[in-house]
Chain length 409, copies 2
């Protein structure tokens, strides 16, 4: 426990730093996020964009009131984990498997096109090969959190295009991991083929195993465990342990923690009762603003000191949007043009995943500061343009409220 963490004795002891003032941090982030969400909804724009904007406002470029501390980062990570968990609860793995083939195609094309485009643009801009490869890798990673939130709050997770997006996002994550592993080992000057092979087997093996047998296993074991336990909210406790355990295992297998969280939700989708949905929803409602604000917090105008960087940023941004639209859209074309558009738009946000890749490049010393700034800019803006585009692409699709969806299931 840090010294007087709640700061109530501030009069008596040395002042508590504001970053440890939990109620103040919570009020700032949650309050401003919800205020801007409200204002955006009033002008018929997606509230989610307002919440990211709250992060930009609070961040270094404008008010400079908040830094991304360990605490805020942890809440953001938890927030997107719970978001994907809740989405998983509303998805049946059998349904997801049905769109497996077009999803694999959409994910693959949606990885190749941005990677190649990023590499070409950076090369033309005069960057060395490794830097260009890394920028391409950062353009690959889709952040499914934003799309999942929009689809979930619109009540259109049941739609084929939505199912395809979720399946493609899982595959995209694995492909992104492999590309990053390849590019990183090239940056280090040694490509270990065996290690890459093991990495891919581990990642694919974990995902396929849990996606395929998770639901059945839970259906077999949860009721029995439940009967034997007596303390408190038994189903919720089981769900939380599975959520954290699969997130951890996913990380160990090289997949993102949120993919583990999604798989945990999906594994429980046919077992747990409505109470678990409600309780997990409470956590999600509280923490998702931290995820969104956390993305905005990284926006830093200081990266754009000269006009050539601004030019590069705009080109990369355009390429990032177009490449997913075209790549993923082409892959999903077998389901018709309107679904192809939905899938393409849904895969556009790069969010926190793109930023982590750029950070790794920065850490390895292969991405210079300005290019890092460009990638972060691209990651944030692709995340902000997706919600309004999704609203247009899904216009006319009938919503099913999560609760009803569950009861129908």
């Amino acid at each position: 426990m840090s010294f007087d963490p709640l700061g109530r004795f501030a009069l008596l002891v040395a002042a508590v730093p504001d970053s440890l003032n939990i109620p103040l941090t919570m009020l700032l982030v949650f309050g401003l996020a919800k205020l801007l969400a409200e204002l955006f909804e009033k002008i018929h724009q997606p509230g989610i964009v307002g919440e990211i904007l709250a992060g930009i406002l609070l961040g270094p470029s404008i008010l400079n009131w908040l830094q991304p501390t360990d605490f805020l980062t942890a809440l953001a990570d938890l927030g997107v984990m719970f978001l994907l968990f809740r989405v998983g609860l509303e998805v049946k793995s059998s349904e997801l498997m049905k769109v497996g083939a077009p999803a694999a195609l959409a994910a693959t094309l949606g990885v190749i096109v941005p990677f190649v485009l990023g590499y070409v643009i950076l090369t033309l801009w005069g960057a060395p090969t490794v830097e260009a490869l890394f920028a391409g890798a950062a353009m690959v990673a889709t952040s499914v959190g934003i799309t999942a939130q929009v689809l979930s709050s619109r009540g259109v997770l049941w739609h084929t295009a939505s199912q395809l997006i979720l399946a493609a996002a899982v595959i995209d994550d694995i492909l992104g991991l492999l590309i990053l592993a390849l590019v990183s080992s090239m940056a280090k000057g040694q490509v270990n083929v065996l290690e890459l092979l093991l990495t891919s087997i581990l990642a694919i093996g974990f995902t396929v195993l849990v996606a395929k047998w998770g639901t059945r296993t839970m259906g077999r074991f949860v009721p029995g465990i439940e009967k034997r336990l007596r303390s408190g909210e038994v189903q919720f406790n089981i769900a939380m342990v599975l959520l954290f355990a699969l997130s951890l295992l996913a990380m160990r297998a090289g997949v993102a923690a949120i993919i583990g969280a999604f798989l945990a939700g999906m594994a429980l989708s046919e077992t747990v009762n409505h109470r678990v949905h409600d309780l997990a929803h409470g956590v999600t409602e509280l923490l998702v603003p931290f995820f969104l604000v956390g993305i905005g917090l990284h926006f830093d105008l200081a990266a754009f000191s000269d006009s050539s960087t601004i030019g590069l940023a705009l080109i990369i941004l355009g390429a990032a949007i177009a490449s997913k639209l075209v790549g993923c859209g082409l892959g999903a074309l077998s389901l018709g043009w309107s679904n192809a558009l939905r899938v393409g738009v849904g895969m556009v946000p790069r969010g926190e995943v793109g930023m982590v890749v750029a950070q790794i490049g920065l850490g390895l010393g292969v991405i210079p500061k300005p290019v890092y700034g460009v990638v972060v800019f691209m990651a944030i803006v692709t995340t902000m343009v997706a919600p309004p585009l999704l609203n247009i692409a899904y216009r006319g699709v009938q919503p099913v409220a999560p609760a009803e969806e569950f009861r129908l299931g």
Copy 2:
């Protein structure tokens, strides 16, 4: 954002420290807490004691797997804030006011008796005056979180004794603040009477104002605000903003953040619908184990290197339990012997509040390390003995489930 916070690229970059591995930390704390809670329930002991024990196990004395990091401390603080908020939602301020007089008496006697007893014991042990005064002050502070959790999960918050405990805990917190302020200024060698007077006016003013007019104000304004907002879970969002705002104001007024959280819940108890209860309950269920484990994490056997310290620890522990039983019990005697026992037992836990006071004494250099260890030991053990004693004291009292209670309200 720290470098690769979710650690998924652990193969590619330098290993992520485990303390930043969110799923691992969550799994360890939540999983072990719930496992021990279950084992305790199996042998008909309160699960809450098992959860504190999980913290002792994970802490420095036994496994040494976890340190109280900023992240864990923040989750613990949030956990106890949500716990008191939820308890507040189930309490009507008008009901609380009815037991105001006996509560004030119980709180006052429950502050004087342990303070004097602690001072006398330390003086007899040979400690200097300021040290003895500080130890007395650390024995004053009641941690109402544990009692609130036990009463809430037993469904006996409706009982007069429970209402009296909550009212007394609020008053106790203010008295504790004043004693600590007095003792700290004595430790610094200058007692500023004007400052003490201002501190008390601010603390009492804030509490009385919110307790008295909070419910009416919310009843008047919330429905109007609600009608004008459109984004998402409107009532929950309003509730969260009020929770964080009142916790912050409470801190600024010198009262504990959890008192602000409790007042926020109480102010909303007659306004918000059942959905807010459920959503807040989800957050509480997730985070309360972090509060309980956080208490246990501070248990450190290393403090007890010689037998005289062990002796002092046992004497202080006995005095801490007896003094609240007698002091608070006497104050509540007008409601009969059995209620006096319930109130006395309910005020026994010192928990995190006692530890914060000891830390301040340590920081000011007036409490030596061994006495600090003794106080922390006392704070943890009083917290662990209270739940079983409460179960005995409330034997035969009919439970009302929170949900029903709300619907009756």
